[in-house]
Assembly symmetry: C2
Homo-oligomer: 317 residues x 2
């Protein structure tokens, strides 16, 4: 008989559907960079996404942790109105990832992965999450992404992320999810693994034929671009002078983008372009601290200030 | 006794100073890519620069070739009013470079270099070149760059390029040139070799302390950025779906930028930003053909059309 999991937050903050729902990992990380090592810090795509998205919209977070998880450390998310009622607490240990960045952050290797209760993750969306307008399926197994998609009522925007492992072991099932997605986040390697194309623009164009209307290619410090029916939108990355830890910046980018989109009345090219500028700014704060710390204590005023700076940095006279 | 060199063009097109003078190599190239090999094509920084700059301003080209050089093939530059009276023809063979691109253009190796008469290059500027407003010192030996700088009257804008060899063998003399330059073109590796900084933005900031008011960091397909007293301007690269040969794209970028600047009444942040958009467009045409071919038969109307597209691709609503 299956144990009924407890919940990270017994009563959800509100029974109104959140603006954006994220399903992903909730983990503990240890990160080594060429310059320093972190303690045990909060990690996982759902945490990083929510950290960023909560600046713009009410977030509903879906994930699983073990009984060892320092739930109190998620208080900064609660204060930003993140609804944690979708985070299950299971007997056992939380997902733990230890990694090391090499060669001035150009390469990353995994030192240790302890999957823990994440192996048993069967996402069940709280009833009031199902009517959310925006859904982010972080890089979890495509079967779980699919099951979440089935639980949603009629989201206006479904965005999907992935990583190499899932393309390798469950390509067909991932492509099924992609077919039903409106927006796909990929990095340059994933474009190549998914399409066989070495030219990123050709690759992004090919990805649109798999279903999504919008392809967002994230190139880290080199910026990002959107491929839509309107062609290409080139977006820069806000310059960071001191990178501390890039972990989670990709999820935060997605969080900034989708959080902003959830806050807007209309989805379209113009809104997506603006969303990417916010995502870039959010991502730049993210890499300035270990784990979620870079964005944790940032105020909306600081975010807006950097966003104004960013807009000046890309504006053509 | 030194032989008096003949000239590629006996009478200069006009005795008015050109808008922009370039001093660099005039070569013959053989290029191998993962997909094809070129015949013997026109090469050299001065050729690529002039090819691009001549869309915007009258160019005066300074270089040296051997008697074997197919001067008639430079007719396309003459037709664009490039003044070749600064190109000396010496007895002997022209500079020849054979190179190979590997790993989907991520790496490049030299197969063969025959320096030929370029070893004896002692640039002498035709009298009417010396009053030009804009000077581009392409990546030649710093002593030659310095000697050219001494021959100029009072250029409003001196821009300098280099490559690893000169940083290795003549660092101090290169830094002397840099000290007198207004604008320095560098790629990401050069930022690191010159400053020891791995962070490109910190590196670019450090480069400004060496003298130049403006640092332009070229990142190929990943765009470029300007570092000035106004901080950072982030510029994208026009998306190219089919790269044929990247050779010369960096020099063409400089040509597009400086040619545009030479055509403008005022130098300043706004003009430089606009110049970089034209440079990006010029560079995108460049990689679409072997050697100078990508831009050779392009019309000003085509250039303008792609520039409008580019501006749409980076514009924020």
């Amino acid at each position: 008989m299956k144990k009924t999991p407890s919940r990270a937050s017994r009563s959800s903050a509100s029974k109104k559907p959140p603006g954006v729902v994220v399903v992903g990992s909730v983990a503990l990380d240890i990160v080594h960079t060429p310059f320093a090592s972190s303690d045990l810090v909060l990690g996982g795509s759902a945490v990083h996404f929510s950290n960023a998205a909560s600046f713009f919209a009410r977030v509903g977070m879906v994930g699983v942790v073990g009984e060892d998880y320092p739930l109190a450390q998620l208080d900064f998310l609660r204060r930003r109105k993140v609804d944690l009622s979708g985070v299950a607490v299971l007997p056992g240990k939380s997902f733990l990832w230890e990694g090391r960045y090499l060669d001035n952050f150009l390469a990353r290797e995994t030192v240790r992965t302890e999957v823990g209760v994440f192996a048993d993750f069967r996402p069940v969306l709280p009833e009031h999450f199902r009517a959310a307008n925006v859904l982010f399926l972080a890089a979890i197994h495509p079967d779980l992404q699919w099951s979440v998609l089935q639980q949603m009522k009629s989201p206006k925007l479904v965005a999907v992320d992935t990583f190499k492992l899932w393309i390798d072991v469950a390509r067909d099932r991932f492509l099924k999810v992609v077919k039903h997605a409106d927006l796909l986040f990929v990095n340059d390697d994933e474009v190549r693994w998914l399409t066989g194309e070495h030219n990123l623009f050709k690759g992004a164009k090919a990805l649109r034929r798999l279903g999504p209307k919008w392809i967002v290619v994230k190139k880290g410090e080199h910026g990002s671009f959107l491929f839509s029916d309107r062609g290409v939108f080139l977006s820069g990355t806000y310059p960071v002078f001191e990178v501390v830890d890039p972990t989670g910046a990709g999820d935060a980018y997605a969080g900034g983008m989708l959080g902003y989109l959830a806050s807007q009345p209309r989805l379209g090219e113009a809104t997506l372009r603006r969303a990417m500028t916010w995502a870039s700014v959010v991502g730049s704060f993210y890499v300035e601290g270990f784990g979620p710390d870079g964005l944790k204590s940032v105020t909306l005023a600081q975010l807006r200030k950097r966003h104004r700076e960013f807009c000046r940095m890309v504006s053509l006279p």
